[in-house]
């Protein structure tokens, strides 16, 4: 198990290094001279040279890369062109909002998706399955932004149940924070819940007809134990894979959702940065997103080995 962990962590680290290189080169490969964008009004050759020197753009690519990496490792991701604030402190303010929104969305989606999926598989061919399938179809086909707008229209503007926009910190006012974030989290989680439900259902249908489920029944176990301990545990591998794959969609979904609900998160920061050509911020955003992906994949792999002993041993072999 320890060896598996170390191998997997090493692979993740390598991927992270490669991702950093790609992010760095990607920014340099963009058309247009970043110095032009950075310089603003002053486009005199002397002014541009000064800007190039200030941002290290006059150095060789490897030197620039080294500069970028050493500063990034020290938590210095540069300074925003737009706001003049350090990018790291902007991230420090925006990231917690997005992390909270995403985690809440994942938790809600997993609870609802796995629950509905199990129900649909166990009650196959009965109204409960049709209902769950119908909900999943709606969740998959209706776009987030439209669902978000409907929610604001009916649950915020018309009835005032939830605030239409804005955010309060979890640490200042936990209840108020939940009140602000629950609706966006539900909207963000709908698509994911639908995908999880469908995967859980089909994977549970496989498990339920497996020989070991017959064995579990033949032992005299209660239906709850047969379904939960024997069938669901074997189905979870597929579900975890799907959740892992869907997280990319979740991040882009978070960008849209935050924009609609006016949450001061990572997504809003990204959109603002793109519109303003705020290169240091975009660079940091891409790097953070890549890191998040890698960390999540690592966690998914860890979860696999917790669920399935066969994977644990394969890593040791």
């Amino acid at each position: 198990m320890a060896r598996y962990l170390i191998t997997r962590a090493g692979q993740s680290l390598l991927t992270l290094v490669l991702a950093t290189v790609v992010v760095f080169l990607g920014m340099r490969a963009l058309p247009g001279d970043p110095a032009l964008a950075l310089a603003g009004e002053d486009r005199s050759p002397a002014g541009l040279a000064a800007v190039r020197h200030e941002y290290g753009l006059d150095q060789s690519l490897p030197a620039q890369f080294l500069h970028f990496v050493t500063h990034a490792l020290h938590g210095d991701l540069g300074t925003s062109v737009r706001t003049g604030l350090p990018v790291s402190s902007m991230l420090g303010a925006a990231l917690p909002v997005t992390v909270e929104l995403s985690v809440l969305a994942i938790v809600l989606a997993t609870l609802v998706g796995v629950g509905a999926g199990v129900l649909a598989a166990v009650r196959r061919g009965r109204p409960a399955e049709w209902f769950a399938n119908g909900l999943a179809l709606v969740g998959l086909s209706v776009p987030h932004f439209w669902l978000g707008l409907l929610a604001i229209l009916y649950l915020s503007v018309a009835t005032g149940l939830f605030p239409a926009s804005g955010f309060v910190s979890l640490f200042d006012d936990p209840l108020g924070n939940l009140h602000h974030i629950i609706l966006p989290a539900v909207i963000l989680g709908t698509g994911l819940a639908a995908v999880i439900m469908r995967q859980t259902r089909s994977s549970m249908l496989d498990s339920l007809s497996a020989d070991y489920v017959r064995t579990a029944k033949a032992k005299g176990l209660r239906p709850g134990a047969v379904i939960g301990r024997h069938a669901l545990r074997n189905s979870l591998i597929v579900v975890v894979t799907i959740v892992g794959l869907q997280l990319g969609g979740l991040i882009s979904g978070a960008v849209v959702t935050e924009q609609i609900f006016g949450l001061p998160g990572f997504g809003k920061m990204t959109i603002d940065a793109v519109f303003q050509r705020d290169y240091p911020v975009i660079q940091a955003v891409v790097l953070i997103t890549a890191t998040a992906y890698i960390v999540i994949n690592f966690l998914v792999d860890l979860l696999y080995s917790v669920i399935d002993p066969r994977i644990r041993v394969a890593g040791e072999a």
Partner: protein, 354 residues
């Protein structure tokens, strides 16, 4: 070979399992299919009864119907009493108490029948926790004892392994340990050795026989392998197309098969001393019919060389058959034209027959 055949008459006083008139039909898209047709079966304490037949003859369905393990499309009628408890039509809570405690199963493929993500100890402990209310720790300790009972070396470390870390034979031993955990009265072994190597098969049969001798467990062994039957069974029930066609003590069946199907089945099995080329193995022509209705005829008639209009016009009753020497007690067959053949049991110990 079992030595206890003579001591076990056909209807001993203590019947553990008594199956009467058991029928199973399945609803399918193309109508109702009959899988088991009015089967009678009994099992005495400590007795090993073999049910033999080709694939699709209804032997597994019969076995599964006892514990209510058939899918929802199955309809079971008749009666199956386990120590007085009626199993056919019993409610789920009643069946749950019976399963694993009084009636336990061993299945054909131990790899897929064990849960791949739970340790073998946990899977054994589960039965004990459910039926005997043991704590997790107590159940684990019992699981180690049970692993030792079924002949698994170093059980204290094996208890924490997962099915994929064990060989096929070891897995089947785990299945057996799980099945006998609560000391069931009846053990149903559905093709327990089919997926295993021949050398491993012998070991598994030895474990089963040993359990019968030590715990007095009655065993219903379902197989298509006549070698397994000859090795372990006290009595044999031959099934064909959902019906019992012959029932006899094991030596009697192998020596004097009465039903033409049984005779064909035995002729299709190799016997030492017969040589390929001079003495070909005989196959039974045709296939087992799929029955959407049970006709009033002998179901074997279409494949039988002795069949005539009588066979196609009415189903033969299951009754003692004369001819070729007197029938032994408890030997019945459903055949209008029974075989009169007397077979030599094994070339090695039948020398004087020449």
């Amino acid at each position: 070979m079992s030595t206890s055949t003579a001591a076990r008459p056909e209807e001993p006083a203590e019947q553990v399992l008594d199956v009467r008139d058991l029928s199973v039909t399945f609803r399918t898209e193309s109508g109702t299919v009959s899988a088991v047709d009015h089967v009678d079966l009994s099992l005495a304490r400590g007795e090993i009864v073999g049910v033999v037949g080709e694939s699709g003859c209804g032997k597994s369905v019969t076995a599964m119907s006892l514990g209510g393990l058939l899918p929802g499309s199955a309809r079971v009628t008749g009666s199956a009493r386990l120590h007085g408890t009626e199993l056919v039509g019993a409610s789920e809570p009643v069946l749950r108490k019976v399963r694993g405690r009084e009636l336990a199963y061993i299945f054909q493929e131990p790899m897929s029948s064990l849960n791949p993500v739970l340790s073998v100890g946990r899977q054994i402990a589960e039965v004990l926790q459910v039926h005997e209310g043991l704590s997790r720790k107590q159940a684990r300790a019992r699981a180690v004892e049970l692993l030792a009972l079924v002949g698994i070396p170093s059980p204290a470390t094996r208890v924490d392994t997962y099915p994929h870390q064990l060989s096929g034979g070891m897995r089947q031993r785990v299945m057996i340990a799980m099945a006998v955990a609560c000391g069931p009265q009846v053990l149903v072994a559905d093709e327990p050795t089919t997926a295993l190597d021949v050398t491993v098969q012998a070991g598994i049969l030895e474990v089963l026989r040993d359990l019968r001798d030590r715990l007095g467990t009655s065993i219903l062994i379902i197989t298509h392998d006549l070698g397994v039957i000859a090795d372990i069974a006290d009595r044999v029930v031959v099934m064909y197309a959902g019906r019992v066609v012959e029932r006899a003590p094991v030596h009697e069946l192998f020596a004097r098969p009465r039903h033409q199907y049984t005779a064909g089945l035995l002729a299709a099995s190799p016997t030492p001393g017969r040589h390929a080329g001079t003495d070909r193995l005989q196959e039974i022509p045709g296939l087992v019919p799929v029955l959407s209705t049970q006709p009033d005829a002998c179901t074997f008639a279409d494949r039988c060389h002795a069949a005539d209009d009588l066979c196609r016009g009415s189903a033969p009753p299951l009754e003692p058959q004369g001819g070729g020497g007197t029938s032994a007690a408890g030997h019945v067959a459903a055949c209008w034209h029974p075989s009169t053949e007397t077979r030599t049991l094994a070339a090695t110990n039948q020398e004087p027959a020449r």
